[in-house]
C-alpha cells in the first residue's frame, strides 16, 4: 500500500513521463474530429490516408482567442519548447485540481461555521 504522498509524487512523475514521450512519439495524424472535418471537406476519403497538405477550412469564428502556448508548443523553441509546454500543462493540471478541491473544502468549512 502506497502512502498518499508517494502516490501523488509517483503519479505526477508518470504523467510527466507520458507527456514527455508524447512530444516525441505522438502521431501527427488528425484526430477523429479533425479527420471527419477533412473528409466532409473533400480533402481525404473515409478510410484513406491524410495528405500532408490537408488543412481544415474553418468558418469565420465570432471569437478569436489567442492561447499563450498554441498547439502545445512554444514557438521557435522546437522540441524543447514542446517539452516545456507539456511540463507547464501537467503541473498546472495538478495545481488546478488541488486548488479546486482545497477551495471547495474551505467553502464547506465556512458553511458549517455559519
Amino acid at each position: 500500500m502506497m502512502d498518499n504522498r508517494t502516490f501523488l509524487i509517483a503519479g505526477i512523475i508518470i504523467a510527466l513521463a507520458v507527456g514527455g514521450l508524447a512530444v516525441f512519439l505522438a502521431s501527427s495524424n488528425p484526430d477523429g474530429l479533425e479527420s471527419t472535418a477533412l473528409m466532409v471537406q473533400g480533402q481525404k476519403t473515409l478510410t484513406g490516408d491524410t495528405p500532408s497538405d490537408a488543412e481544415i477550412q474553418e468558418p469565420e469564428s465570432a471569437v478569436s482567442y489567442n492561447p499563450p502556448l498554441p498547439d502545445y508548443t512554444l514557438e521557435g523553441y522546437g522540441k524543447s519548447g514542446d517539452l516545456l509546454a507539456m511540463l507547464v500543462g501537467t503541473i498546472l493540471a495538478v495545481l488546478v485540481a488541488i486548488g479546486a478541491v482545497k477551495l471547495l473544502m474551505m467553502v464547506r468549512k465556512t458553511d458549517r461555521q455559519d
Binding site: 505522438a26 484526430d31 472535418a37 482567442y65 502556448l69 503541473i91 471547495l104
Partner: protein, 213 residues
C-alpha cells in the same frame, strides 16, 4: 474530439455551455460532499495523467489518430459520473485556455461530450457490466469503449446542428474513427485502473462498491 470555436455558432455554443454548467454545478456539489484531504492525491494524479495522455495521439489507421479521453476512467476510480465531470472540466479548462486545444465558446460542448456523456455512459455501463460479468477488465474495457464511442456520435450530431458536418457522413466517420480509438480508450482504462488499485488497494472497494450500488 475537442471542438474548436469555429465549429459551433455562438447561440448553440451557449446552449451547450448552459447544459454543461448545470452538470458542473452538480459535480461541485458532489465534490463538496465527497472530497477530503485524503482524496486530493487521486484527483491531482487523475487530472495530470488525463491531461498528459490526451496529448499522446496514437495512430489508428485511415489517416487518423486518437487518444484516451478518460471519462470512464475518472468515473470508475472516483465511484461517480460526477467525478468524470469534475476532472474533465478541469482538464478542458487547462487545455482550452493555455493551449487552444478545444475552443473557449465550445468548451461547454466539450465538457458535455467528454465529461458528462463520457462520464455517465462510462460509469453506468461499468456498473451494469460488472453485475453481468463480474470481471473488472471486461467491464472497464467495454464501458470505456462506449464512453469514447457515444460522445463521438453526440459530437457528430452537434456538428450537424451547427451546419459544420452533414449528418450521415459525419456520424459514419466519427463513429468509425472512434470505434477504433475506443479500443485505445478501453485498453488504457483497464491498465490505468489496475495500476492505481495496485498502488492504492483501498480504492478497490470504491470500484467494486460503485459496481454493487
Amino acid at each position: 474530439m475537442h471542438i474548436p470555436d469555429a465549429f459551433i455558432p455562438l447561440p448553440q455554443a451557449a446552449v451547450y455551455w448552459l447544459i454543461a454548467l448545470i452538470f458542473i454545478f452538480l459535480s461541485i456539489r458532489w465534490a463538496r460532499k465527497e472530497m477530503s484531504e485524503e482524496k486530493i492525491p487521486l484527483i491531482a494524479v487523475l487530472a495530470a495523467g488525463i491531461f498528459a495522455i490526451q496529448a499522446f495521439n496514437l495512430p489508428v489507421g485511415m489517416g487518423t489518430s486518437g487518444h484516451l479521453v478518460g471519462g470512464a476512467l475518472a468515473a470508475i476510480l472516483l465511484g461517480s459520473p460526477f467525478g468524470a465531470v469534475f476532472i474533465l472540466t478541469l482538464v478542458l479548462i487547462v487545455q482550452g485556455v493555455l493551449f487552444g486545444d478545444g475552443g473557449i465558446t465550445t468548451m461547454g460542448a466539450n465538457i458535455l461530450n467528454m465529461g458528462v456523456i463520457g462520464g455517465f455512459v462510462g460509469y453506468y455501463s461499468f456498473q451494469g457490466l460488472m453485475k453481468a460479468t463480474k470481471s473488472m477488465p471486461v467491464s472497464a474495457f467495454i464501458a470505456a469503449w462506449l464512453a469514447c464511442f457515444i460522445p463521438a456520435l453526440a459530437c457528430a450530431v452537434e456538428m450537424y446542428l451547427a451546419g459544420t458536418f452533414p449528418l450521415v457522413p459525419g456520424l459514419a466517420a466519427m463513429g468509425l474513427y472512434h470505434a477504433v480509438i475506443g479500443i485505445i480508450e478501453g485498453a488504457i482504462t483497464v491498465v490505468a485502473i489496475r495500476l492505481v488499485i495496485s498502488a492504492k488497494p483501498d480504492l478497490q472497494s470504491t470500484v467494486i462498491r460503485g459496481a454493487a450500488a
